[in-house]
């Protein structure tokens, strides 16, 4: 379970998050949407300690992130993350990208790590690209390898930071399908995205963030059919054309 309690964050004098509260239970998929620059990605980065926050508390499975005794490196092992621009290691093949952390962090043998990597590549539909370098993969393929890389650590949670917004339209679905499968298999996911079709299909809860505040939250039906705030209505009318 991830608990976000009254979290506020500043960049210098500029406040970017205001008293964010949210609880994500095991097995849930939460979609975060909102205009760019609203603080969605920043919030996501706070959850695995990539960005510090100045007020409030984030607790993952009972472990508080701002406790100085918390080993962030250890905590991140169970929180996978997928980035907008894939961020595959350009000097390594797909398999090397996937096996690096299991071998160095979990101390798995190369053989075991590669067996698992092949299994994951099979799962994301790219077994034939195992030995390709990122430069020779399409955007959609790179993102699927990036998902496999995150899954290789067998995380309990997955964070997705606009995973399809850098993709050409025809590649979006191949990535979304992998994510929908994951959600259906019971992975706990927090997804920053504007893909409302995806949200409708798998989200247990949708949060709308604007200017660092949670403006609206609801299950998918309430969210789409009966948004409470004017800001949400305006946003939805823009992206649901």
């Amino acid at each position: 379970m991830i608990e976000i309690k009254n979290v506020s964050k500043w960049y210098g004098d500029t406040q970017v998050l205001y008293d964010i509260n949210e609880v994500i239970d095991r097995g849930q998929t939460v979609v975060i949407c909102g205009p760019s620059g609203s603080g969605k990605s920043t919030l996501l980065r706070c959850i695995n300690g990539l960005e510090p926050y100045q007020k409030g508390e984030i607790v993952v499975d009972g472990i508080s992130l701002n406790d100085p005794k918390t080993n962030l490196y250890k905590l991140r092992q169970k929180i996978g993350m997928v980035f907008q621009r894939f961020e595959l290691y350009p000097h390594m093949t797909a398999v090397q990208n996937i096996t690096l952390a299991p071998m160095k962090v979990l101390k798995k043998s190369r053989k075991e790590a590669e067996r698992k990597a092949m299994e994951l590549l099979e799962r994301v539909g790219l077994p034939e690209k195992a030995h390709a370098y990122p430069a020779n993969l399409s955007g959609g393929q790179q993102q699927r390898v990036a998902i496999a890389r995150a899954l290789a650590m067998e995380p309990d949670y997955m964070l997705f930071d606009e995973p399809t917004s850098a993709l050409d339209p025809e590649m979006i679905n191949e990535v979304l399908e992998v994510m929908i499968d994951l959600a259906r298999e019971g992975m706990t996911m927090i997804v920053v995205t504007h893909e409302m079709g995806f949200a409708r299909e798998v989200a247990d809860e949708i949060i709308f963030i604007d200017e660092g505040r949670i403006v609206e939250r609801g299950t998918d039906e309430e969210f789409f059919t009966n948004p409470k705030s004017e800001r949400t209505k305006a946003f939805l009318s823009q992206i649901l054309v």
Binding site: Y73, F83, Q84, Y89, V105, Y133
Partner: protein, 218 residues
């Protein structure tokens, strides 16, 4: 026309061998230390950043020949005994070249996006693992042309070690010249040898630059 050169070829080549050994040791040490200096220059920890930055700025603003002199004449006072010129030269070169290699690596590290580093952290890798498997290898590939160029400069710079009496290529040539008095021929030969090596090196640098572009690492 190279009669004086041929008469003294083994002696001259012995000097060239010393030049190559000095270059090799200076590069191995300078690049290894440069990897760390570069990391120090991007460190957020003030107690690492400031001393490393002071070291880099200080060394880069004094002439190499002074570093060589200073080290050779001051070390015996500090250590209590004289150091062989070769060892002294190697250490001076490492101290000097590491600042230049360090700045090349710093530029390489800074070319790597913050999200790529975040991606490594997100899989549970520690900072030192991220540096070792991600930062350093990518910076090395991206900066390979600059590293080769700086290596060529180092190779040329080694001739300055003659000031502390090290019998490298240029020193031995000047010894031969004192006997033969054939300056144009002898130093022309030295220039030719340096030119061939440096020119080949620059072609290699160019090759890696093009290769880097093709494979998308640069």
């Amino acid at each position: 026309m190279f009669d004086a050169v041929f008469r003294n070829l083994p002696f001259l080549m012995g000097g060239f061998l010393v030049t190559l050994q000095l270059t090799f040791c200076a590069l191995a040490g300078g690049i290894a230390l440069g990897v760390l200096v570069g990391l120090g220059r991007i460190s957020r920890k003030k107690w690492i950043y400031y001393p490393v930055t002071l070291y880099v700025n200080f060394i880069r603003n004094i002439p190499l020949i002074l570093v060589i002199f200073w080290f050779y004449f001051v070390m015996p006072i500090l250590a209590g005994r004289a150091m062989p010129p070769f060892i002294s030269a190697v250490i001076s070169f490492i101290i000097f070249e590491a600042t230049y290699f360090g700045e090349i690596f710093r530029a390489g590290y800074q070319s790597i996006s913050r999200d790529l580093i975040h991606a490594a952290f997100a899989t549970g890798l520690t900072y030192s693992q991220t540096a070792r498997y991600i930062l350093v290898p990518i910076a090395f590939r991206r900066m390979l042309p600059s590293l080769i160029t700086q290596s060529i400069v180092t190779f040329q710079d080694t001739s300055l070690a003659f000031v502390i009496g090290l019998q490298e290529f240029v020193r031995r040539t000047s010894i031969v010249d004192n006997l033969e008095v054939r300056s144009i021929q002898l130093f022309g030969f030295v220039a030719l040898v340096f030119f061939i090596f440096c020119f080949l090196g620059s072609r290699v640098a160019r090759h890696f630059e093009e290769k880097g572009r093709r494979t998308g690492v640069i």
